[in-house]
Structure formats: structure tokens, C-alpha cells
């Protein structure tokens, strides 16, 4: 395996890990809010969250590219804050990936939260548990498996991302050249043996991850899960 390929693997793993972490931090409260009955405009928010599922990634990438350009408010603010350009940077990839993989984290969590009986939270409240305490002591343990599902799907989906990356990241080795882009390069230059190595690796990785998830869900079907 070449140094360029190792770079691409390393970059992909870093991107997917950071994206997944951010998604769990942002997606958990969002999913919780969506799962409660008193959310306002829930259908609109749900639709927005689900958009990346059906939108061609290039559409998302196109608008993000415009948004990240150095002459937009965001681009200017970013440059002032960090001293670097946002477009074609690793940070841009992280932002794009968070949006792109959002439904893969929010939807399983929301489904799991909805299955936590409201009654259990009520009894916890009468036993002296504040809402945060209820979430930590009742909701989290009951939905632990769904967090694993959500994180795995978010991670795997980020690894497989291509269209958004190409639009907003370009192809800078060590900065934005992730596995899927590297694979595209090999195919473009007719290096099929190398392409097989990366493509096959991604197939095996994805299959193994999904297999483990589904096998676990079948074994523990009594848990609250998504």
C-alpha cells in the first residue's frame, strides 16, 4: 500500500471520527427534542434533517461551496477567526460531513427515544429526578445500543461520502483527499488494481460493520432500540 493511500485512509478515519463525535453531540439533543410531543414545527425540522438522504450530494456540495467561499460572511468570519481559508479545507469537509450524515445519527436516536415510555420518566420525576437526571439515568441506559447504531451508521456513511467532498474539498493530499476521492483518481487513470484494493477494502469494511450491527440487534431484540 502506497504512502498516498495510507494518507487517504488516515484522513478518512480522522474525518469520520470527528464527524461522528460532533454528530453525537449535536444530534442527541436534536433527536430528543424531535422525539417529544411538545416540539414545535417538528415535521419541518424532520424534513430538513432527512434532506441529505434524498438530495444528490452534489447539490448539497454546491451550496456549501458557495457558502464557504472566501467572500461570504461565513468565509470572512472563518478567516478572521482561524487565519485560514474555509473552502477546500479539512474543516469544510467536517462541516459538510456533519450535515451529510445527520439523518444517519438523528433518525435512529429519535426512533429509540420515542420508544422510551413516557411513564418511566414520570415515575422518575416523582422520585426526585430532574429532566437531565431522567435522561442520564433512564433514557441513556435504555437506548445505549441505539447510540452504537447511530455512531456506526454516521461513521460508515461519512467514510463513504464522495459527492460533497469533491465539491467542497477538492483533492488535496493530506487535507481533503479521502478514500473515495483517491479511488476515483485510480479509476480515472485506469489503475484498476489499486482501485480494487481500495474499493474492495471499503466493501469489506461496510459489510463487516453492518453485519455486526444487525447480528447484535437480532440477539438483543428485547432492548429499546432502533
Amino acid at each position: 500500500m502506497s504512502a498516498a493511500e495510507l494518507d487517504a485512509i488516515q484522513l478518512t478515519i480522522a474525518l469520520a471520527t470527528i464527524t461522528t463525535a460532533l454528530l453525537l453531540i449535536l444530534g442527541t439533543p436534536l433527536a430528543w427534542w424531535l422525539s417529544r410531543k411538545n416540539a414545535s414545527w417538528p415535521a419541518l425540522v424532520e424534513a430538513l434533517v432527512a434532506m441529505p438522504l434524498i438530495l444528490p450530494p452534489t447539490v448539497l456540495g454546491f451550496y456549501l461551496l458557495l457558502l464557504f467561499a472566501p467572500d461570504t460572511a461565513l468565509g470572512v468570519a472563518w478567516e478572521k477567526l482561524t487565519g485560514t481559508q474555509l473552502a477546500f479545507s479539512f474543516s469544510a469537509l467536517v462541516i459538510g460531513s456533519v450535515i451529510y450524515s445527520l439523518p444517519f445519527v438523528v433518525q435512529p436516536l429519535q426512533a429509540a427515544f420515542q420508544r422510551v415510555p413516557e411513564d418511566l420518566l414520570k415515575v422518575a420525576a416523582t422520585l426526585g429526578a430532574s429532566p437531565l437526571d431522567q435522561f442520564r439515568s433512564i433514557v441513556l441506559p435504555l437506548t445505549r445500543r441505539s447510540f452504537v447504531t447511530a455512531a456506526s451508521l454516521g461513521f460508515a456513511h461519512t467514510v463513504g461520502e464522495f459527492g460533497v467532498v469533491l465539491m467542497i474539498g477538492g483533492n488535496i493530499p493530506g487535507e481533503t483527499r479521502v478514500l473515495s476521492v483517491a479511488l476515483y483518481d485510480y479509476v480515472e487513470s485506469l489503475q484498476f488494481a489499486e482501485a480494487h484494493r481500495l474499493a474492495g477494502g471499503l466493501v469489506v469494511f461496510s459489510l463487516a460493520l453492518l453485519y455486526l450491527l444487525y447480528r447484535r440487534d437480532r440477539r438483543h431484540s428485547w432492548r429499546v432500540q432502533a
Binding site: 411513564d119 418511566l120 414520570k122 415515575v123 422518575a124 420525576a125 416523582t126 422520585l127 426526585g128 429526578a129 430532574s130 437526571d133 439515568s137 433512564i138 441506559p141 435504555l142
Partner: protein, 341 residues
């Protein structure tokens, strides 16, 4: 409502019993506003809403609602670790009272309905509440389990200075437990008062029910092992009831259904009915087309009798008449909760 003893909230389905408890616990905010005050604390007022986790009100639901991911011990710990510094029952006491020793390591899924409810009661007590709410806690239990749970609750009412609000649509349960009774209908309070007074009145919705019954309080006298009977002394009269193992001198409640009481003008000497006692007719009320309901004074207590209107006319009875009440059946209630009297 009184802030001590057991207060039963009784009414038909849909009369707002559970809603009332939810409002007291803070699990529901009444749409029309309103006030909830407990002792010197205001929990709900126009500009004030104390959330349930700050109210120190424990709630035992019909479905025990044990936390499925925690075993019995952990369910108890959940309440125990969240209570304030104030006392209340200790873990050992609760485990001992409710006989939970053998269950501690079990998960809720393997417990019977009765065991679950005992754990739920224990968990509620360990949150050291100032008020315990019980919403039909025995409704899902079979007869034996519910009798057992009732016994535990009565024992607890005696051991703890903990006021309880007990919602039920089962008047027999209520008769055994309650010191005070609140009658609800269509979301409105129709009557309230001490249990024994309210059951002996003719102007309540209770008296219109088929199973209307008076409750009298007496003390256990002699046992008659040969016939399996026990004497209960009520207002100087002696009633004989099928024996239960009650210690001599113990105060017990006796539930006497109105339909099992008839009256006669003279004391019959050749009746198969054992309990024939002198009473005074203090009130009469027609009950539908064919029947009348009588209120009979026995000393300071009252019995109810339901007889046909035809019989009442034939006997020519009037308020103030001295009659003999024939009591066909009476149920000695397990244990009196009249610790407060």
C-alpha cells in the same frame, strides 16, 4: 383534604381521579389553572408551578413502572440516592416491611404482578415523600396478591406518619383502608368526609350503588372455635361473625351490605339469622321504584338496609321507630386502619 391518614378518592371511571393525582404530583398542569397546596407549600398557583421532582410526592401507579434496566435493589437505590437529607424509612426497614429480601437481585421482568407492586411501593417510600399517591395499585393483582398488598399498605399506614391519597373504584378496598373518603363524579367533588360517616349516609352516590354498605367499628370479643365464630362488640351489641384470627380486644371494621340487612318490628325467635339487633330508624329514602333505603342507628353508628317499598308500607315503619335489624352477612375487614382514632 386531611394531611394525615389514608384518604380514598372514589368515583366511577372517567370521574377524574387519576387526573387529580397527576395534578397533585405535578405530572399534569390543569388547563384551567387552579391551586395545589400542601401544608405550608404552594405547588401550583397562577404564577407558580413546582415541578414534580421538587415536590417530594411519591406515586405508585397501577402498572408498577419499575425501571426495566435495573434490578430490584437498583430500583430501590434509584429513589434512595435521590432523596434529600431528610429521614423517612430506611432501606432495611422497607426491605423488611415489604419482604423484598429474596427479590433484590431479580430483574423486574421475572417478578409477578404482586411482587412488582411491592417493589414499587418500597421504591416510593424510599424517596422519603411527604405524601404518597396510589393510583389503583391493586387493580392488576389477583385476589390473593391484592389482599397481601392491602395488608402491607395497612401495616405501613400504621408504621409511618405518611399521608396517602388512594384512588380506587373498588369500594371494598376503600372500605378496608381509608380513614377519609372523597367522592368524585365528572371531575367534580361531590362529597367528602370521614369514611365511616359517609358510608352510613343516604344522600351520597355511594348509597345509590348496588353494593352500598355501611361500615361499623367494633372490638373483637370471644372466639367460639366449635362453630368457627367470633364476637364483635359494637355499641354494646354483640355480633357473631365467621372467625378470623383477630386478637381479643382488637378494633376491627365490619362491612355490612345494605342488601343483606332486613328489618322486623318484633324480635323473631326462630330465625336462622344469627345477628338480630335493636336499632332506631332515623331516615328513609326511596331507591328506584320498588325499593327503599333505611338508615338505622345503632348507638352512635349507622347501618343501611335496603328493603322493598312494599315491605316498608306493609310494616308501616316510620322515622323514629324502634326496629330489629337482621343481618344476613357481614364481612370483617382484615385489619382496621383506625390507628388514628
Amino acid at each position: 383534604m386531611p394531611d394525615r391518614g389514608i384518604t380514598a378518592i372514589y368515583g366511577p371511571s372517567g370521574s377524574g381521579k387519576s387526573t387529580l393525582l397527576d395534578c397533585i404530583a405535578g405530572l399534569r398542569r390543569p388547563e384551567t389553572g387552579g391551586m395545589v397546596r400542601f401544608r405550608d407549600q404552594t405547588w401550583l398557583a397562577p404564577q407558580r408551578f413546582v415541578p414534580p421532582w421538587q415536590r417530594r410526592v411519591a406515586y405508585v401507579f397501577q402498572d408498577s413502572r419499575l425501571f426495566p434496566h435495573l434490578n430490584v435493589q437498583q430500583n430501590l437505590d434509584y429513589a434512595d440516592t435521590r432523596r434529600g437529607t431528610v429521614g423517612g424509612a430506611s432501606m432495611q426497614q422497607v426491605i423488611h416491611w415489604l419482604e423484598l429480601e429474596g427479590l433484590l437481585q431479580h430483574t423486574p421482568a421475572v417478578l409477578s404482578a404482586g411482587q412488582k407492586q411491592r417493589v414499587a411501593i418500597g421504591r416510593a417510600l424510599l424517596s422519603s415523600p411527604q405524601l404518597l399517591l396510589l393510583d389503583e395499585p391493586l387493580a392488576n393483582l389477583d385476589h390473593n396478591a391484592s389482599q397481601q398488598c392491602l395488608a402491607y399498605l395497612q401495616q405501613l399506614a400504621g408504621e409511618l406518619e405518611l399521608p396517602m391519597l388512594y384512588v380506587s373504584h373498588d369500594i371494598e378496598e376503600v372500605s378496608q383502608l381509608a380513614d377519609h373518603l372523597v367522592l368524585l363524579e365528572h371531575g367534580a367533588l361531590v362529597d367528602q368526609g370521614p369514611m365511616l360517616d359517609l358510608c352510613g349516609r343516604l344522600d351520597t352516590q355511594l348509597s345509590r350503588e348496588e353494593q352500598a354498605a355501611a361500615i361499623v367499628l367494633g372490638s373483637i370479643g370471644q372466639h367460639d372455635p366449635e362453630y368457627g365464630l367470633t364476637e364483635l362488640l359494637v355499641e354494646g351489641q354483640t355480633l357473631q361473625i365467621a372467625s378470623r384470627d383477630s386478637p381479643v380486644g382488637a378494633r376491627r371494621r365490619l362491612r355490612i351490605p345494605a342488601r343483606d340487612v332486613s328489618v322486623c318490628l318484633n324480635k323473631p325467635e326462630d330465625s336462622s339469622i344469627l345477628n338480630i339487633i335493636p336499632v332506631t330508624l332515623t331516615q328513609m329514602k326511596t331507591d328506584g321504584d320498588a325499593r327503599v333505603l333505611l338508615r338505622l342507628a345503632l348507638g352512635g353508628q349507622h347501618l343501611l338496609a335496603r328493603i322493598t317499598r312494599r315491605s316498608a308500607d306493609r310494616l308501616g315503619i316510620q322515622v323514629g321507630d324502634r326496629l330489629f335489624a337482621q343481618i344476613k352477612s357481614a364481612a370483617l375487614l382484615m385489619e382496621s386502619s383506625d390507628h388514628h382514632e
